[in-house]
Symmetry: C2
């Protein structure tokens, strides 16, 4: 075979999100962009906050020699200091700049962390429904994903979790606020998970990392407090990105933050920095690093997303659709009115409505809608949903 | 073990370049920056050309909505078009925009390509001396590096190459202008290599890709013409970066260009784009993409590097050091006056001179000097070299 067999196999099962995104582009070409209701992709429609544009102007004016050269692979010390300080002020953590590595976004951060901790065949537990790319990241690190179902409210089922742990379990990967469900795990739930991890570590004599993927940490509604994983787990690694909080997904910027309580965390940091280099990231883009340092206290207004959530959630539930109200992030994970959600997704396309099948996230019978889109599109979509609903509820 | 055993092992054999770079920082803290002659790292001291700064100002002023959002994983179509046109005008190639994928620099590009073509245990041939990171990139893709020695002028030894090919050989990775030797392979040499590859493909009934890593393609002296690999090899993949040509190493921007002659190159492109996404790069940074599109015809003045090369090359050879004169890139690969170059490197440190041992590039008995540094530092280093030379030549 001329190419990697594994990659060819993955290509065949390619991303549902991307497939729907491309279907949307086709429909838009036929019917016009304003007649297509594309809820497929999480590409923030909101613009970066003013602080980001001001920062970019400052950077463009700065002709200090060396501004665009290599810096240490972990990132500029002043950028890591700014983030360390923010974490300390906002969450009361004591993660020093030495325990932070700047990365090219959360996808990069997760690949780097997994490659640093996994030996071949070691297992990483993820909770369904999950962000589909996790399985690829774990595979890239040489590990095996182990899927544990959440309960019907999409909360962690601690008993199911404990049953899934084996002597090969190396990490548990959580995502809160969650893509695709919008769930935020409560402090109580996370404490229960931490206890379960401790119990399993004792049982098997192993060490299990808690990886927390937090790109939606600033997209939170009704002022929900996000529990701080550093204060709840003794081997916590946080991966974050500014793709959503500063609406900069194209600029590929985020960070890894490692709990100082991890034994020999200096070696873990060395491994992370080594992999950041040799996996080919080398360093997070210099301009993006400067941007987030200058705009470290800024974030997009989550009220903009709340308005969209309320309009869509209320509109759909009034029509008879069932859905847990998202507490964060910008997705609705809706129960399909027919068991086979592929059938529903196809029917929706007749009304120029694009949503992503739940099986793309490891849970059939549901579909995901991304509401980080123009509010007028959401408004215009509601009559189309009304027609669609008539096919199922009457 | 808490971390990846493989990574821990690699950490122990960590980069010589980085080790010397850190030694340099220590010496600078003791003796003052102007008293230390640091030839360890290839971090361009030259600033980006004016076109890049103008482009950045334009980008900062542009408040068109969507400028910092996700774009297709392969990059902006208009950026790929600009590069396709440049390749066509400058090299007479017919690589269309569809056969280009924007990546986060050449290190990213090589990781993405290798992951796309390699099955577990397949082999990639590299020529010593080589850029040390290649071995890690090949390992990340699941392959095995096979090292072939070059001749004493650092040219490709085609007979040695043919002996190293096996049924598992999937690719040959070349780097011209070369790091660490500064060699540019002639058209004749590359034609010989292409013939040898064809012969071996026939012998084993296999397909062998030619991967060409060309980040130094604009750093060329005496107007040497660079042979165009697309015109010489039938399965050529070029990986390039703007780290050197636009002096933007911190901004992580480059591209993969795939020969349209590769059978089913559309599937290869799909695999490349898939891996660009799932390895965690997602896309090359948006600002960096716009920068290179706007400055596509610009490049740093290689005359600046020529001046440094001449000063250092003449200075060292007059003192008795032996070295092939670099035709491109910004490194001298110098024969150590004692067989064990580690001994020489240590002695040089006594004179505050930092160079990298040749074994870091797979060839002992030599040392590498990077001359992309301030010309005054080079000038000031010559008396120190004179003293150092006295220990060996008299």
């Amino acid at each position: 075979m001329m190419l990697s067999d594994k990659v060819l196999e993955n290509l065949k099962n390619s991303s549902w999100i991307r497939a729907m995104f491309e279907e949307g582009n086709k429909l838009k070409a036929i019917y016009g962009a304003d007649k297509v209701y594309d809820f497929s992709i999480g590409n923030p429609e909101v613009e970066p906050p003013e602080e980001v544009f001001d920062a970019l102007t400052e950077i463009a004016e700065d002709q200090t020699p060396g501004t665009h050269r290599y810096m240490p692979n972990a990132g500029y010390p002043f950028v890591k200091e700014a983030i360390s300080k923010k974490l300390s002020n906002k969450y009361g953590t004591d993660v020093s700049a030495d325990n932070i590595c700047m990365v090219c976004g959360a996808a990069a951060g997760l690949n780097v962390v997994l490659k640093s901790i996994l030996n071949p065949g070691e297992e990483v537990i993820i909770f369904a429904p999950y962000f589909a790319e996790y399985k690829f990241y774990i595979g890239n690190g040489g590990g095996e994903p182990v899927v544990v179902e959440t309960d019907e409210d999409f909360n962690i089922d601690t008993e199911a979790f404990k049953k899934a742990v084996t002597p090969k379990t190396k990490a548990v990967l959580i995502n809160s606020p969650n893509n695709p469900t919008g769930v935020i795990y409560s402090e109580e739930q996370l404490r229960e998970l931490a206890d379960a991890i401790g119990e399993m570590e004792e049982k098997f004599g192993t060490d299990i990392f808690l990886l927390s993927d937090e790109p939606y940490n600033e997209i939170v509604y009704e002022d929900r407090e996000l529990p701080v994983v550093f204060n709840l787990f003794d081997k916590a690694i946080v991966v974050n990105s500014y793709s959503k909080s500063l609406a900069l997904p194209g600029e590929r910027i985020g960070y890894i933050a490692v709990s100082p309580e991890i034994p020999d965390c200096a070696t873990l940091m060395a491994a992370i920095i080594f992999n950041n280099r040799t996996l080919g990231f080398v360093n997070a883009p210099a301009i993006s690093q400067r941007l987030v340092a200058k705009a470290v206290d800024a974030s997009v207004d989550s009220g903009i997303y709340k308005e969209r959530r309320d309009l869509l959630y209320n509109g759909l539930t009034e029509l008879g659709f069932e859905c847990r109200k998202p507490e964060g992030a910008f997705y609705l994970f809706v129960r399909s009115p027919v068991e086979n959600e592929l059938e529903f997704v196809k029917t929706a396309q007749k009304y120029n409505i694009l949503v992503v099948p739940g099986r793309g996230f490891g849970r059939s019978g549901f579909f995901r809608m991304s509401f980080c889109i123009d509010i007028e599109t959401i408004r215009r979509s509601l009559p189309a949903f009304r027609e669609l609903a008539k096919e199922y509820f009457s």
